[in-house]
Amino acid sequence: MKEKFDVKNGLTRRGFIKTTGGVALAGMAAGSLFAGPLKAFGAEMPEKWDEEFDVIVVGSGFAGLAAAIEAKQAGSSAVVLEKMRVPGGNSIINGGVFAVAGSPKQEAEGIKDSPELLLEDMLKAGLYLNHVELAKTIAEKSREAVQWTESLGVQYKDRVTHLGGHSVPRSYSTHNSSGSAIVTKQLDKVKELGVDVRTQSYVMSIIQDKEGRAAGLKIKEGYRFPDESTGTVKYLKANKGVVLASGGFGRDLYFRTIQDPKLTENVDSTNQPGATAEVLMDALRSGATPVQISWIQLGPWTSPDEKGMGIGYVFNAMAGFVYGVMVDPETGKRFINELADRKIRADAIIRLGHPAVTIADSQGVRRVHNLDRALEKGVVKKFDTLDALAAEYNIPPEPLKETINAWNRYIKQGQDREYGRYLQTDSEAIANPPYYACRAWPKVHHTMGGIQINNKAQVIGLDKKPIPGLYAAGEIAGGVHGAVRLGSCAVLDCIVFGRTAGQSAAAKV
């Protein structure tokens, strides 16, 4: 099209050949650049930077936005780069639960909790693979972190939620049960502070100076995910530092199957499509130390009957696992503590070889805010009798009834004698029809591993020293959660280390 308009403008023949030839040459150059193997070296320092900022933040999720806010508030100029066409990454589609140890809401409910208990829970779930200092940091700063979000105007529900692997209910839940409640407030703040969030900005490479310092980024503007050929190259200079907050790689099939070959295209993910590994890979190339990258978490609460995170998980997480039971449809029996950590549960379901069935009664579903929609979509089903439920999922009815009777006895007795599951104070026997059920089958949810950081969110290089000017926070950073991340600890991690990274970068630590 372009050529045609040129001709209309009356180019001479020579001019025309010159122009098209130039375009062809440029195309060839670009082609070789993109098509060639990823270079072992970062991009060269450019002759001229297109723009410069004190702090460049990569990623517009919880961590990235927290970093940008802190950096700007510390007096640095900042910009947020986002490769997708919308801001927020996984954070904006996150479930909006935020682990807080010893919170005012817990106090109001009379729940005894402490950062130590949270740390203990994290370490236990993390199989003690956690970098304890990092885990300890977020446990200690949880109260401060949630208060920071509240200062941005984020609203939470009154009651705290009990998520799997936590020994007590401690998770704040945003008013709309979505991380968007936090991200939108962060975006408001960023806008208010005058920090640009630039979508469709794809980071091609971290540019290091001769000393190895992260001096800036080579990016593509106008990038249209996932079309590699789109966008124009720009060089952004980071006077103080680059904060990598680009998230995990749950949707990066290539990188994911390298780390865990089981997680092929047959395994769905709860993540947004932009959850890919290119920034992590470039950070590794830049000399960052890899940490536990093959620990990829599957969410145990997702349904195989819908795409991605979907809506059925709310039933599983808020009803089936908390007030109901999860059974193996082949035996009609429970097979795991429904509130065990995610890995234990996901592994247990995968061991079954087929989706599990979670069951709750009309009392159990009272906190499932989207029940009607889930029923409408057919992800959750409703039954008048347990027999009907058993028939639908091919569960042997008698063992199923025994399982439920046993569970009801445990509630009376105040103790789960089979798997030692935590009993809710308001638990009731599963005896109030109608009954509800949902299938559960894990999906890739979180990548615990990543690059190594220290307590100041500095990226630690293979030379055992922080890489100057390079900071990381959130899912790209490894070690905080060890083998298994507990539910609601990701938001906490992102906010705490995101803020730290912004502060550190601004202070050029």
Binding site: M1, F5, R13, L187, Q272, K307
Partner: protein
């Protein structure tokens, strides 16, 4: 431009030409090269005309049967494609819906070259975020314009103007909603869309004035600007732009200008695109319009304001009147009456088009059929307003003008299907300059009425015009004679029916009560008839009597069946009966023939009566004969018998001993006699109203109408109920008394029914002379057949009459 540079250098002509050809060759190379490779892809032409598919698409992109879309706008597209699923706007790219809505390429991309990038900011220049959020607030699953990302996302996440749109949400979710415009695949679209060629614009939107899109583009700026260089009068410029045609180009209608220079030298003439190209429904109407057919007029003859006419302008009744009277005489048509009212601002009143139509003004020829058609169609126009109670009250007009007309002979005959034979509204009131009767200039002013009546009637006296064309029987002040005639007739009806129906019911009760009481009782000696008496027949009616009765029966039925459809002209069966009789004309003929027969019978009866009273011109003893036992005249015994019957009804005595004629038989006779006086005379008056005007005033025709009508009701219903009861339904007669047809009955019957006559016959020794053979089988069969048929027909007619009387 390059070639211009060449030209400026003043190269020799040959070089110029070769250069030009070379450049054109280059152009053509360039034009065909890339496009051949992607022949499916449209070329985006920046000055693409809306609806002109060919400006970008090389190939046929809409069905060949589809009406020409050139110059259509989206509203026009949607006027046909309104109920499709998926919606039309979801089946083609957003760029198309924009273009068709008047947003040109430059509207988004600007005039710059290359075209400017279009971002969300451009979209928001027209589309407001809050409107978008509101528009999709009820979208199932989630509002895509107010998601967890908030309302301020980039439009092109989902909406693409030049390629298939996408559902951005669905990269994580599974939402079903349609994102405009996803370019729904043609196969799918064809399968689900309504067949375009069936959607005839005229039928789908009959009321819409313009049913086809203009034949050419919406408004190619250049074309308009060029013309306006010379044609700069306001009606071609700013006024035109505001007009209802303002979106069209000059060349949309004025075609044939191929060379502007020639045009400017007036060497070529422009041609006009027929208005029918767009206004096809109206043009189809106009093909039969009197202006088109007779005056060969074109649209522009009346529509002189096509360049300046505003949307919704004109359209008032006054505007129509003013337009029509540029040709048609003001004095003749709009000086008074309806038009004057309209011009004074009364929109209730009728303008020209309310009666004549606008583009479908009928041509009426001088044939009887067309006269009828004309009368009917104009009357329908009159009635549509004058029968609208709200409207007439609002304008202080008579509320019953239509109803009262329908009560007259004119109204009824017209109603029954004789519009060519009787006067309609305009025959008296004229069609134009209609004034109230009090105005001396009014055609219905008493002084002018003779002229009106003469149009149809001739040979009448001046008092003929006293006829009330809108007689109101209920208005005792204006029409006292009519009112009292009507009242008298109704009182007569009520009295007669009350007496005889009560009489019949009591009789019926008594007879059946007696029968029930005597059931199973052994016959006593008294009530066993003498065996011989049951086989011995005597004569009751002569041949003459029987033939007279049969003539009476036939003529009576014919009169009822031909008269009542007019009395109840609006009833459902009226038309059926008329058609059964052989059409309106045959009905009238049969009615009159029957009337003559009845008249003949009546006169013959009078003659017979005279002969009876004055046998051989002997006057003496006529009173004795008049009140004697053989006479049909009432006498004292009838009074006694009547009282006796009532005593018998109430078990207070035996049944009276009757003579030759019972009192009810005498009443039957006199009913016909009286009836003939009323119904026959009034009928004659209605038959020959002009003649009677020499004797009686015109309003007597109204009186005659009432009398004829009500008396007919009395006669018919009396015969079909009371007379039939006495001779067919009474317990001792059921199913019928046949002696009126066979002429004879048994001595036993004579003895039982008329014992005094029997005694008298014995005493006068005349019984033997009356003795006859038993009626033959054919005569009995004839009696039974005719009798039963008459009863059934009579009862059927009774039902029809009551049906009409009660429900119409």
């Amino acid at each position: 431009m390059t070639h211009k540079l060449f030209l400026k250098r003043g190269l020799p002509f040959g070089t110029k030409a070769i250069g030009l050809i070379f450049i054109i060759f280059l152009f053509s190379l360039f034009h065909t090269g890339p496009e051949e490779a992607f022949s499916q892809d449209p070329t985006r032409v920046r000055d693409a005309k809306p609806g002109n598919c060919a400006s970008c698409h090389k190939e046929q992109v809409i069905p060949s049967a589809h009406p020409d879309t050139s110059g259509m706008n989206l509203t026009q597209c949607l006027s046909c494609h309104k109920e499709e699923d998926p919606k039309l706007t979801n089946t083609f790219p957003l760029s198309h819906s924009h273009l068709l809505s008047g947003v040109s390429c430059a509207g988004c991309h600007g005039e710059a070259d290359p075209p400017e990038f279009v971002g969300t900011g451009t979209c928001l220049g027209c589309h407001k975020t809050e409107d978008l959020v509101a528009a999709t607030k009820d979208v199932k699953d989630a509002n895509p314009h107010d998601s967890h990302y908030g309302p301020e996302l980039d439009c092109d996440l989902c909406h693409h103007a030049h390629k298939e749109s996408e559902n951005f949400c669905n990269q994580c979710h599974e939402f079903d909603f349609v994102v405009p415009s996803p370019i729904v695949k043609p196969a799918k679209a064809v399968k689900r869309a309504a067949p375009v060629k069936d959607a005839a614009p005229v039928e789908t939107a009959p009321k819409k004035k313009m049913d086809r899109a203009p034949p050419d583009a919406g408004k190619p700026e250049e074309a308009v600007l060029n013309c306006r260089g010379c044609h700069s009068a306001p009606e071609y410029t700013e006024k035109f732009d505001r007009s209802v045609h303002g979106l069209l180009a000059c060349t949309t209608c004025h075609t044939g200008i191929e060379n502007v220079a020639q045009h400017m030298k007036k060497e070529t003439k422009t041609e006009l695109t027929p208005c029918a190209a767009c206004h096809s429904a109206i043009s189809v109407q106009f093909e039969d319009d009197v202006h088109g057919v007779e005056a060969k007029m074109t649209c522009a003859a009346c529509h002189t304001d096509v360049h300046i006419r505003m949307a919704g302008a004109g359209g008032t009744k006054a505007a129509v009147i003013n337009r029509c009277t540029t040709c048609h005489s003001k004095d003749q048509y709009v000086q008074f009456g309806h038009a004057k009212e309209v011009l004074q601002g009364n929109e209730d009143s009728a303008g020209c088009s309310d009666c004549h139509g606008l583009h479908d003004i009928a041509v009426f020829k001088e044939t009887i059929e067309d006269k009828a058609l004309q009368r009917e169609s104009f009357m329908a126009a009159c009635i549509s307003c004058h029968d609208n109670q709200e409207l007439v009250r609002r304008n202080n007009l008579s509320t019953d003008i239509v109803e009262s007309y329908e009560e007259t002979y004119h109204g009824k005959v017209l109603h029954i299907g004789f519009p060519e034979r009787v006067a309609g509204c305009a025959d008296c009131h004229n069609g134009h300059n209609i004034l109230p009767a009090t105005d001396p200039q009014s055609t219905v002013h008493p002084d002018n009425l003779i002229k009106d009546c003469k149009a149809c009637h001739s040979g009448f006296h001046a008092r003929f015009v006293k006829f009330e064309a809108h007689a109101d029987y209920s208005n005792s002040e204006r029409y006292p004679v009519l009112f009292w005639t009507n009242a008298f007739m109704i009182a007569l009806l009520v009295c007669v029916f009350f007496f005889f129906w009560v009489h019949s019911i009591l009789w019926w009760r008594k007879a059946y009560w007696k029968k029930w009481k005597d059931r199973g009782a052994a016959p006593t000696e008294e009530n066993i008839p003498f065996a011989l008496e049951t086989v011995l027949y005597v004569q009751r009616f002569s041949w003459r009597d029987r033939i007279m009765h049969i003539l009476l029966v036939v003529s009576f039925f014919l009169l009822v069946m031909t008269g009542f459809p007019i009395k109840y002209a609006e009833s459902a069966w009226a038309e059926v009966l008329i058609n059964l009789m052989g059409g309106p004309q045959m009905t009238g003929l049969l009615h009159r023939i029957s009337a003559i027969v009845l008249w003949a019978l009546f006169l013959y009866t009078c003659w017979l009566s005279l002969k009876f009273l004055f046998p051989k011109r002997q006057v003496r003893g006529w009173t004795k004969r008049l009140f004697g036992p053989e006479s049909l005249f009432f006498n004292k015994k009838d009074w006694e018998d009547l009282k006796g019957m009532f005593r018998w009804f109430f078990n207070r005595g035996e049944m009276p001993q009757f003579e030759r004629w019972t009192y009810w038989e005498k009443f039957d006779f006199f009913a016909v006699f009286w009836g003939m006086f009323v119904i026959g005379l009034s009928g004659l008056m209605l038959w020959l109203p002009e003649l009677f005007s020499y004797i009686l005033p015109g309003w007597m025709i109204n009186v005659a109408t009432v009398a004829h009508s009500e008396e007919a009701f009395l006669a018919a219903i009396f015969i079909f109920t009371v007379h039939f009861f006495h001779n067919h339904l009474a317990p001792n007669k059921f199913p019928m008394e046949s002696n009126i047809f066979t002429g004879r009955y048994t001595v036993a019957a004579l003895k039982e029914e008329r014992p005094e006559e029997y005694e008298r016959m014995i005493a006068e020794n005349r019984l033997a002379s009356l003795e006859r053979k038993a009626p033959s089988v054919p005569s009995r069969f004839f009696a039974a057949f005719v009798g039963i048929a008459a009863v059934l027909l009579g009862l059927l007619l009774t039902v029809l009459i009551f049906w009409a009387a009660l429900f119409y």
